[in-house]
Every structure is written in structure tokens, then in C-alpha cells.
Symmetry: none
Subunit: 219 residues, 4 copies
DNA sequence: CATGAATGAGCCTTCATTCAT
DNA sequence: CATGAATGAAGGCTCATTCAT
């Protein structure tokens, strides 16, 4: 919805306040989530942490799940923003490998901002009903990868780009999140990590002859 | 020593009858988990599904979490058994690629037995406290891979085998579980899937020169 | 600081409505206690008797014990008020014996208001943790007696006033509560009772020569 | 039931074993009571502490309350034995005061054997239904005192011996138990305590003219 | 719109007691 | 008679949600 040229300032203050309250609630929920985990998350705790009455919480969200869903949505949206921004930074003349490295690196950096929250979102928040949103980043990542593969079809080996994109995305997620959750500080200080992840992904796409696929020589 | 949140089983059943009760409880829990999800799992439901009184549940498990932990443990133990058995089947003269394909294939097959349970274990059961057990299979897989890499050091490119093993394992888990949960039937009927996963893993390990790492020639 | 078994009230009610709810709960608890005894006291019964939802109970009290503790506290506070008020009534020129009689009489009268509750508080409510409050009245009584003894030191025999006060208080409690619980109606209608209790206490304090302490004369 | 002249040794071994089991159970209950208090007393705990199966417990006692009642009974019986034995020791030519002192002293000593148990029996074990047994010692004590007063009617002031005996007994119980529970070690090491208690009791009984009963002279 | 007191369905867990072996 | 697995009524308590003020 376009900004409508900043007319009707009358109602705006109110809407502005509402938007602020919602943001406050989401941030409070994030804090609670990273500090105490999902199990300890109660609507009353959210209200208290946000400095708002429980009644007000229900002014903006119909259920507890809706709050958590909104947190997840915002988290995903931010990650996607990060991604988009980081891709815009990469030189258009970059190697595929350079592109990959850029994306991986940016993703790692983004998740390192609040590893505790990542962990809770990944391991504790139940992915049920509308909450499969956690997979949203993944899907978006798949989209980006698929687009890139399509655009560089001649530089790339796999024919089934749809499948290839999905495998790249899920493999990457598996590698990144595991290490980020396991030992964020190590990840932060180990350039090797991003290098090796890049290596896996790049090699998979490389059009050069497949490794020792043929049965071993004289056997 | 912290109380550990009472996740350990209460008493090891000595009598045969008792052992049977415990097994019945775990299986009932699995059924409920795959049918209704974690949220709907209550201790009374478990007792009812097992055809046992609620008191008997607490004869063997101190808390609800302990039951779930036991289910996870049993699941992991079984997966590890599957893995071990499948590796024993692979010809000792097999190519690295053949070994990889065998392991991937067996893992996929095992998880396809009850994809609904896999999904719930992965996405709904909170991984908290002792419940990090879900990662047990992963760790075991890492161990197997690391051993294999060490044994075939000369056939393999990565120098840091520890890191390599972890990346292979987490990437594989990411790929397999995502697809198994997303569309188990497709996975079951698509040999391509296992092929491509194998391709990624094998290419990463291949000792041949790295793909187009150098900046593109004349540019 | 130990968790203290959660016997402290949860939050001091700020609104009038809340204060009323708390009072209602305590009175309901008292009614249940005197009617059915401690064993039959359940939190749900309290809520029902108070015409309040169980949730409201836990809005103000963290545990069942806390409710009972509050009842005991209120009981003690009221008894102490009675005592204070009754002492203020006694003429300043009164004999020690008259003072004693006044205090005993007032105490008896106060406990006769609800002997059933006294009995349950004395014989059924477990005096554990913070629930040792039942002894509060006693301690307060000891204080009063000690002060009186100190103020009238020259009229009084015992040198160790601390010990004397404690003995007087505990002896009195023993006599009063036993009879009040055993047969409240008899106590109510027997002026003799208060007289005799007074006799015991007064004689103990009397400065006149100790009774026949010496070995019997010519024997 | 008379001992039947020790015939039928046939059945005796069994009965003997039963008697032993019962004793074991009671002692186990006492231990649990003094160690953990009444709240923590469960039938299973009793069985475990006694090294007996829960089934066997119910072979000898119909309910948990019956066990506790038996413990109380045994406790009372022992205290009465102590009392009887101690009275038999007192010289027949003893002063009333000497008799009193002997009884008080013996009672104190007996309760000092296991003050923790005394405390639990007094403050935690619910005195309900048949469990008014705790008052049994008291009643027995009252009987002894009443008999003594009757036997020495001419040495004693109070005319209403029934009431006097009851007051003496309840006052004594109040004083003794309070201090024994409050600080058993102090009681053990303070001869003053028994002296003062004796003083109170003896003065009450003393036939000499009542202390300053008359209104103060010239006022 | 904010507030926060009130609601109540329902869950986890305990423990006295029974009964098949 | 002993054993101990099984039973299940019942109770304490939480927390998402509503609604009167």
C-alpha cells in the first residue's frame, strides 16, 4: 500500500502509536524467547516485559500463537532484507563462487546477531499450523538460488535447477544453523567455516567432469 | 550436580511385565505424536492410548518430558542400528561414492518408515534440557563419517577431517529431513533425490582440482 | 535466600475489589476449616466456598499453604488486638491478680468465638515451614507478660523474669486451649475455670514465702 | 486376653514374626516422622524404610492412619510406662513437692529421648478421628495427679480435685512440650527449668493462705 | 482504548490401596 | 503370606483469554 502522500494526519498519530505498541510487543517477545526460551513464554510475561497491560496485548493479537507468528515473520523479513541488501552489494562481475561466498557470509553474519533467538526459533518454537513460517527464509533462499542458477545456466552443471536449488538451500541451512547454534563464537572467528561451506556448494555446481564417477579403471 | 530436570527414567523394570509396560508406553507415545502432534500429547492420553493407568506411567517415568526423551532415545537408537546394519552390508571394495550412496539411501529409507513422527520430532518436540537427544543421531553420523574420512585419507580432499565430517553430516541432515518432511512420497519415488545428495557429498570430498577457483581468465 | 516454600502472599491487592476478594477467600477458608477440618480443605473448595474462580485464588496466593498461613496470621493478629484492647481496659490501679484475671478472661472469651476453628488450628493445621505462625500469639503473650513482670518487679517473686514469663504463657495456653477445645460450653459457663487458672498464675508470682519447702518439721 | 500358659508353640513362630514385622513398621514410621515430618510420610516410604513390601504393610494395617495411630499408641504407652516406673521409684515418704518434681523430671527426660518425634507428633500429625490418642498421655497424667490429690487431700488446697488435676496436667504439658520442642538442649542442661515448673505446680496445691487475695489494705 | 481482576478448562502428578503372581 | 506392578480418584496449579471498569 503506497504511502498516500502523507495526507490524513488526523488518524495517523493513533495508528502510529499502535504500530509502536506492536513493535514493542514483538521485541519483548524476542527478549523473553532468547532469555527464557519458548516454554517460559506466557502472554502475561510478554505484557509485563513490554510494559503494557495484558488487555492491550489482545488488542493487537488474537492469540499467543499470533504473537509468536509475528515474531517469526519479522525475523524472516529481516533476514530476507539482509540477504537482499547483501546481494545488491556483490559486484555484478563476480564469480559464481564469489556470489555464493557473499550470500553464505551475509547469512552467517545475520544469524550471529542473536544466536540465542535463532536457537529457540529453531529448536523450541513449535512449527505447527501457521508457524511453518520458520521455513519462509528457506523458501526465499531457494527462490534466490533458483533464480541465480537459471540466470547462469551455462556456468552450472545440474540440469534440474529446481531440485538443485532446494538441495543447496537445505544443505546450507543445515550446516549454518547447526554450527551457529552449537558454537556461535567459533563460527564468528573461523573464516574456514564459510570457506568450506562455499566449497561444498561451489563444487556441486561446477560444470567440470564429475569426480571419479566411472568405475575404477581396470576393475 | 543440578537436578537435571528429571528426564531420566525412574526405575529400570526388572520384571517382564514391567518391561512390556514401558515398551507399550513408548509406542503409544509415538502413535500419539505422529497422529496428533506434540501439543496434544498429555500424560493421560498416553496412558489411555497404551491401555494402562496413569499411575503406571509414573511408575516408570518421573515426568512427561522423560517419556518423550525415552521415545527420542529409542528412535535414535533404532536409526543408529539401521545405519550400522546398512554399513555392514556395503561391500568393502566399494567406491567412496558407493559408500556415501549406501548410507544416504539407508538413512532415507529408515526415516521414510514414519515420516509423520520424524516431522513431529523435528519440528514440534522442544529440544530443551536433556532433549537435545535429537541431535544424537547427527553426532553419531558425524562419527561414522569422520572415521570413514580418516580411513580413506588419501582418497579425500579436505584436510580438516573433523570439520569436513561435521559439514557433510549437517548438510545431509538438512537435505534429507527437509524433503522427507515436505513430501515423503516424492522422496520415496525419486531415485534422483538420493543421486543428487550423493553428488553433493562426493564432489566435496573429491581430490581432483577445485573447480574454477581462479578468477576468470581474460576478464 | 531459600525459596521459603512460597508461603508469602503473591501480591498485595491494590484495588478495592481485589482486597475484598482476598478477605472473602480467608473467611471462606476459615469456614471450611471449622466445618470440615484441614484434611478436607482443597483449593477448589476454597474457591467455591468464596464464590470465586480457582484462578482468582492463585492471583493472590501462590500455594494452598499460603492461604492457610494468611488465615493463621489474621487469626493471630485478631487475638493480639483483642488482648491489647482488653489490657487497655484494665484499671491502672488493678492488682496483679486482677490484671491476670482480666487477660485470662479476655483470652478465653476471644477463643470462645469460634472454638471449632481454634481446634482445627491447634490440632490439624500442620505447623511446618512458615506455618509456625500459630505460635505467634504465644510469643506475643510472652512479651506482654514479661513486660508486666518487669514493670512490677517488686511485687513479684521470680527473679528470672524471662523464664517466668515463658512458663506462665505456655502453662496458660496449655490450660486454656485444652479446655476450650474439649468442652467450650462448659468453659463458657464456668467462672470457676478462669478463677482457678488465675489462682495458679497468681500464686506462682506471689512474693510470700514459698510453700512448705522445708522438710516436714519433726520428721 | 490371658497368655494361655504358653501352650501351642506351633503357631507362635508365625505370630512372633508378625509381631516383629509390626514393630519394624512402627519404628520405620517413627524414623521417617522424625526425619522428614508427617507430610513426607507415605505408605510406600514406610515399606521401603522397613525393608518390607507395600503389600505386607497392608497385611498388618488397614490404612495409613492406622499405622500412625499405632505409632502414637506405642509412644503413649511408653511414656506411661516411663511415668509408672518413675513413680514407683519415688520414696513413699516423699513430700508432695518431691513427688511433683519426680514426675516432671521423668516426663522431661522421656520426651528428650527423641524431641524431633515429639515435635512432629505434636505439631504435624493431625489429631483427628481416632487420632486424639495424643491426648492419651495427658488423660493418664490427669488420672495420676487426681489420684495423688485424692490420697493427700488434707495436704492440698483445691477442693475441686477433678478440675485441679486437669489444670495441673494441661499446664504442665503446655510448659514442657513447648520448651522441649523449642530448644531441647537448653532443657536438658537447665535444672532451673524443672525447678520452676515444680514451683508453679506446688504453689498451686499449697494449702497455706492464698496470696494477697484481699484488696490492698488502706486503698 | 487501556487496565488488570477474574475466569475455568484442563494438565501433571501423587499416593493410598488392590490384586495377580 | 510376600511381592510389587497396577490402579485411578483427586488435587494443586497454570495460563490463555475475557470483560467490567
Amino acid at each position: 500500500m503506497a504511502r498516500r502522500l502523507r495526507t490524513q494526519p488526523r488518524k495517523l498519530p493513533t495508528q502510529e502509536r499502535a504500530r509502536a505498541t506492536v513493535a514493542t510487543l514483538l521485541t519483548a517477545t524476542e527478549r523473553l524467547l532468547s532469555r527464557k526460551g519458548y516454554e517460559a513464554l506466557t502472554t502475561n510475561a510478554i505484557a509485563a516485559e513490554a510494559g503494557v497491560s495484558i488487555g492491550s496485548v489482545y488488542q493487537y493479537f488474537p492469540t499467543k500463537e499470533a504473537i509468536v507468528a509475528a515474531v517469526v515473520d519479522r525475523f524472516c523479513a529481516r533476514r530476507i532484507d539482509d540477504l537482499t541488501r547483501s546481494m545488491a552489494t556483490i559486484s555484478p562481475t563476480a564469480t559464481l563462487r564469489e556470489v555464493i561466498r557473499g550470500v553464505v557470509s551475509a547469512t552467517v553474519a545475520a544469524h550471529l546477531e542473536n544466536p540465542a533467538l535463532v536457537r529457540v526459533l529453531l529448536q523450541e518454537v513449535p512449527r505447527k499450523g501457521q508457524l511453518e513460517r520458520v521455513d519462509a527464509i528457506l523458501d526465499h533462499g531457494i527462490g534466490i538460488v533458483a533464480a541465480a542458477l537459471a540466470a547462469r545456466a551455462e556456468e552450472v552443471r545440474p540440469r534440474n535447477t529446481e531440485l538443485a536449488a532446494r538441495l543447496l538451500a537445505t544443505a546450507t541451512r543445515g550446516m549454518l544453523l547447526h554450527e551457529i547454534v552449537r558454537d556461535p563464537d567459533w563460527v564468528r572467528d573461523s573464516p574456514d567455516f564459510v570457506d568450506e561451506v562455499t566449497e561444498i556448494l561451489a563444487r556441486y555446481l561446477d560444470p567440470s567432469p564429475p569426480p571419479s564417477r566411472a568405475p575404477r579403471a581396470a576393475f
